[in-house]
Amino acid sequence: MAAKFDNSIVRWIDHRLPIFSFMHHEMHEYPTPKNLSYWWNFGSLAGIALVVMLVTGITLAMHYTPHVDYAFSSVERIMRDVNYGWLIRYIHMNGASFFFIVVYIHIFRGLYYGSYKAPRELLWMLGVVILLLMMATAFMGYVLPWGQMSFWGATVITNLFSAIPVVGDSIVTWLWGGFAVDNATLNRFFSLHYLLPFVIVGVVVLHLVALHRFGSNNPLGIDVKGPKDQIPFHPYYTAKDAFGLGVYLIIFSAFVFFAPNYMGHPDNYIPADPLVTPAHIVPEWYFLPFYAILRAIPDKLGGVLFMFGAIAVLFILPWLDRSPVRSGQFRPIFKIFFWILVIDVVALTYLGGKPPEGWYVIASRLATAYYFIHFLVILPLLSVFETPRQLPKSISEPVTGGGAGFAGATATPREKV
């Protein structure tokens, strides 16, 4: 085993601490389906986005002061006086949004290609855990600059817990460490905002362990049938991921350098004032679909339950969609509903940013209803009634003519898993 390294120092270390063997096995030899499309870039991209957030975040923490009297001005000091502080903060601010963009695309890729299905259920569920942790981290991070949106976002979101019967108010007081969002709240949010990213790193490691157990899903959604279907991760996918990273960084830089506040809210450049609520408070864009669901339900507890339900439903998705075919490419009806779901979530995002009045309310309710119907009704029914198209025999032998289209109606409908 150790013989594969030329360098004697590497061999010496590896014999005692097999990290090089591990790296070689998991990066170099790790067999990967050879037909992964660019949609498969978003996993590694999310990993890099996380590292960028960690590095810039730890750097910002060297200059930030978590105290209600100093938080806002310490952020302004970072922006004005700290060497390259403006750059590091803008990367962190926009990095959060881009992290969510990447992860949302990653999730929708998984939804389309059935990456949540056996044997990758736990891989998927760990991913949902990462999403939840990201949301908690992003929410607490947004509080730290102690602007108006920070303060009122913290107030509104922590108040969600007051919807819990009987103990709700006690829980909110406990979260605050006082009788309103105040210094104690800011301090604990800073502490947790520093902690949670490392918890995310831990769950990401588990996510990767689960991924490497069966390897990546692929656009055809069929299992690899042997070495002919596979290529080593390195150098093929490292090169492809690197190119994808380059494209990502160009778009990211365009925002950081030329529209750094585009995805932020002007009100957060006003210091927090516990006595004045801004006219329109909206969460950051990545929370808007969930915010729309929250407001669509005319009952306080109901709204909170549905909002959390929107994520909870993802946990049980592998058991809602029982179709043995993974990839949406071979599921003609699923494919249509998938795109309706995409439009539905985009619509919820749009509606979450609008005031809760007029037709926005009705549209929000319809979109919320569709979201849950999609997962709880349509997917279970489709797995029973849909006739999938014929699956190719293997990755290296696609169905002749590349058109699974005409073959679908005829014999041998599906691969049995």
């Binding site: 590095v55 750097t59 060297m62 200059h63 000091r77 004005r80 006086d81 700290v82 060497n83 390259y84 502080g85 750059l87 590091i88």
Partner: protein, 176 residues
């Protein structure tokens, strides 16, 4: 055969070029993260202070804070000046004339940090031990400084540092 060889050279060149450009990029990205730990603009703006030496009576000394460190301003007596000037350079571990160390002979301005391991020497207050040479004495490891702040005995390698300063009027000095 020749074709394959050429192809490989071109391929190698591409890989090397990509890696080299990537390395340049990584270095450029690293710099802001290193530089952010350097003093910020507001810290640098406080890097110089002004001090009115006329507030120090002859024979007395005052400690002012400059860049987070003590600066000793001592209004020396004629006797102290004479003592400092009489020392032959050959007797000094870190040879410097007193004239090099004090722009105005009666005002000695030195950074009050022992050049051994960074303690603050005693000798500012009249009641303090001033060491064997009438200047300062560092209690941590027993370094003795003379009335010009020069190291005369003990483990310290160098004289007390003279900060950069200039008189912006007869009595007001700008340190830093």
């Amino acid at each position: 055969m020749a074709d394959t060889h050429q192809g490989e050279t071109r391929r190698d060149f591409l890989y090397v070029a990509t890696a080299a450009v990537g390395a340049v990029g990584a270095a450029c990205v690293a710099w802001p993260f290193i530089d952010q730990m350097n003093p910020a603009a507001d810290t640098l703006a406080l890097a110089s202070i002004e001090f009115d030496t006329s507030t120090v009576a002859e024979g007395m000394a005052v400690t002012v804070k400059w860049r987070g460190k003590p600066v000793f301003v001592r209004h020396r007596t004629q006797q102290e000046i004479d003592e400092a000037r009489a020392v032959p350079l050959a007797d000094l571990r870190d040879p410097q004339t007193d004239a090099e160390r004090a722009t105005k002979p009666e005002q000695l301005i030195v950074v009050g940090v022992c050049t051994h391991l960074g303690c603050v020497p005693l000798g500012q207050k009249p009641s303090d031990p001033k060491g064997e040479f009438g200047g300062w004495f560092c209690p941590c490891h027993g370094s003795h400084y003379d009335t010009s702040g020069r190291i005369r005995k003990g483990p310290a390698p160098r004289n007390l540092e003279v900060p950069e300063y200039q008189y912006i009027s007869d009595t007001v000095v700008r340190i830093g």
